[in-house]
Symmetry: C2
């Protein structure tokens, strides 16, 4: 175990990893994984098949890890509650991914062929619904009405964010504020809820609930902005999807919003053709990358991500130093360092 | 107000109507409708647009009516709880319809163009998710963990039933038992849950909860079987969808299951071509109707529906006679009489 040296605000450690955090919650995550497996079970064979196609394909399980860590951070005694809520959070996330694939007409997800290609749109929709139902059943078992309130509100806000994105997609007039509203909903809200339920279970005062929520919200925004950058610069192998997916789907992400604000007339014509009308030609992705580099919008998106990363770190100020807090701080660096 | 004369078991009153039931819960339903309107509100304009396209297009709102009536039947004092749970039940139903349209690739719903045709599959999936989230928020506000348990379990069972139907669809080997398992899940479970939460809110003993659940479950099965019959014989105007939709979608419903069991070799070849391979030719629907009539499978499906109708009525035996019970008994007759 390495000594974690806190960095100054605004700087991120490019060597940061999730290792400390993963190690600290390893016992809980083993139970979360067992719960996930048992709760995807059904007499209807297609359900575990489709669910496990996506769940078994990995992903870091960052959201349930955050639930366990925030419960630990705030002194949760370690009953079943946090494990069940963590599994519920992961099910909500998986349901969203299954439904997103239908919405985006994706062919690939986490480096594997998307469930909707293998089993059809209908299976993706319905197995997503099943997982959402199971998520709520687990929350009900935990029996905290406050946690139920937080997570059911999150389900609504996530759907709102996704619908907002539908409306914003292909609209080259989308502003930075509008785009931030979209990602607060579709990505950051679940991070926020995942973190907030930790101190709720631990029975801690509202200030600590709000602090964990703020940590999750800001981390989620940073996480999504880095994803947006990676979509134009990450390597296909690491991401499990190809560079340029957002571009090909006509998704207006922050690097594009910024590039549009700085666009020449000629560039604006290019973005309208490729994103609004989705008339793609050979070499368009290269051209898009050239424009993004010219205006340094990937770097500027990274800067925004660092800003939200700082806010996430600052939110934890009210907690005493300790290994869990240090690991949560390092997780912020890790999320941002992915883009290097 | 007419005098309700109880009929012998096994007979249904062809003049039966929902009027008494509708009148008895009219005050509550007004509040349910206001709640539905306010809870489809969102700053994201597309959400109320899509939700209200379907919600405003009518439908009898049978499920929330049942929730209110079963609460009344068991002496619920009439607070906000039943109204919110009734609205939540209707939202769950609406979400299911929106997702079903994507699954079935429907063009029409309740006599109007399906939301997915007007706004795309993505809007149907996401607005369905939004309504499901809002349903859970309302349940959480009511604060009954038992009601939350019943309705979240129902969400899971509904999705399971729908996936089962995917697997059974186009499979001419589907047995009557397998088909019943499908409709218990996809239709009857929500009827059962809608009824069961009434006595739960009223704080009544388990026997009354089980009785209301049994009433809803059996009514739901009868309701779906009659729907299956109507799909081959109802009038387009009354149903809001065209006769033969199930046939054209290759859906194996009970009239078909029974016809397959009685099929000649030649008929079996016909069903395999039209339902399994969906190779439809001019005149196939007429041919299908001729075969169904030859084997009297629409009548036999009606008989099954009457059987479940009897079971629904019998479930209410434990309750003292009164206007709500009489109206609930008449609702069974109404559901069955639709097919005449």
């Amino acid at each position: 175990m390495g000594v974690v040296v806190p960095l100054e605000q605004g700087r991120t450690d490019p060597e940061a990893s999730l290792d400390d955090l993963v190690r600290l919650v390893a016992g809980g995550m083993e139970r979360v994984n067992t719960t996930i497996l048992s709760r995807t079970g059904s007499d209807v064979a297609m359900i575990p098949e489709v669910a496990n196609h996506l769940i078994a394909s990995g992903g870091k399980r960052l959201r349930p890890i955050l639930t366990l860590a925030c419960a630990d951070l705030t002194g949760y005694a370690g009953g079943d509650g946090a494990v069940k809520l963590a599994a519920a959070v992961e099910f909500m996330h998986t349901a969203t991914l299954l439904h997103d694939d239908v919405v985006d007409e994706s062919d690939m997800r986490r480096g594997r062929v998307a469930a909707r290609i293998k089993w059809g749109n209908e299976a993706s929709v319905l197995v997503g619904d099943f997982l959402l139902g199971q998520a709520f059943r687990m929350m009900v078992e935990v029996g905290s009405l406050r946690a139920l309130d937080i997570l059911s509100a999150a389900a609504t806000v996530i759907a709102e964010g996704e619908v907002m994105q539908l409306t914003a997609a292909k609209n080259t007039e989308t502003s930075e504020d509008e785009y931030l509203a979209v990602i607060r909903g579709k990505t950051a809200e679940l991070f926020a809820a995942a973190c907030e339920v930790g101190p709720v279970l631990a029975g801690r005062p509202e200030a600590e609930q709000a602090a964990c929520r703020a940590y999750g919200m800001n981390l989620g925004i940073a996480f999504q902005l880095i994803d947006d950058v990676l979509d134009y610069g990450g390597t296909s192998a690491a991401l499990g999807k190809n560079v340029g997916d957002d571009f090909r789907e006509g998704k207006i992400t922050l690097p594009i919003v910024l590039a549009l604000r700085r666009a020449t007339d000629e560039e604006r014509v290019f973005w309208r053709r490729t994103l609004e009308r989705e008339e793609l030609e050979e070499g368009d992705l290269e051209q898009a990358l050239t424009i993004l580099r010219r205006h340094r919008t990937l770097e500027d998106t990274m800067d925004r991500a660092r800003h939200y990363g700082d806010a996430a770190r600052a939110a934890l100020d009210i907690f005493a130093d300790g290994p869990v807090k240090a690991a949560l701080l390092q997780a912020v660096d890790f999320c941002i360092a992915r883009a290097h």
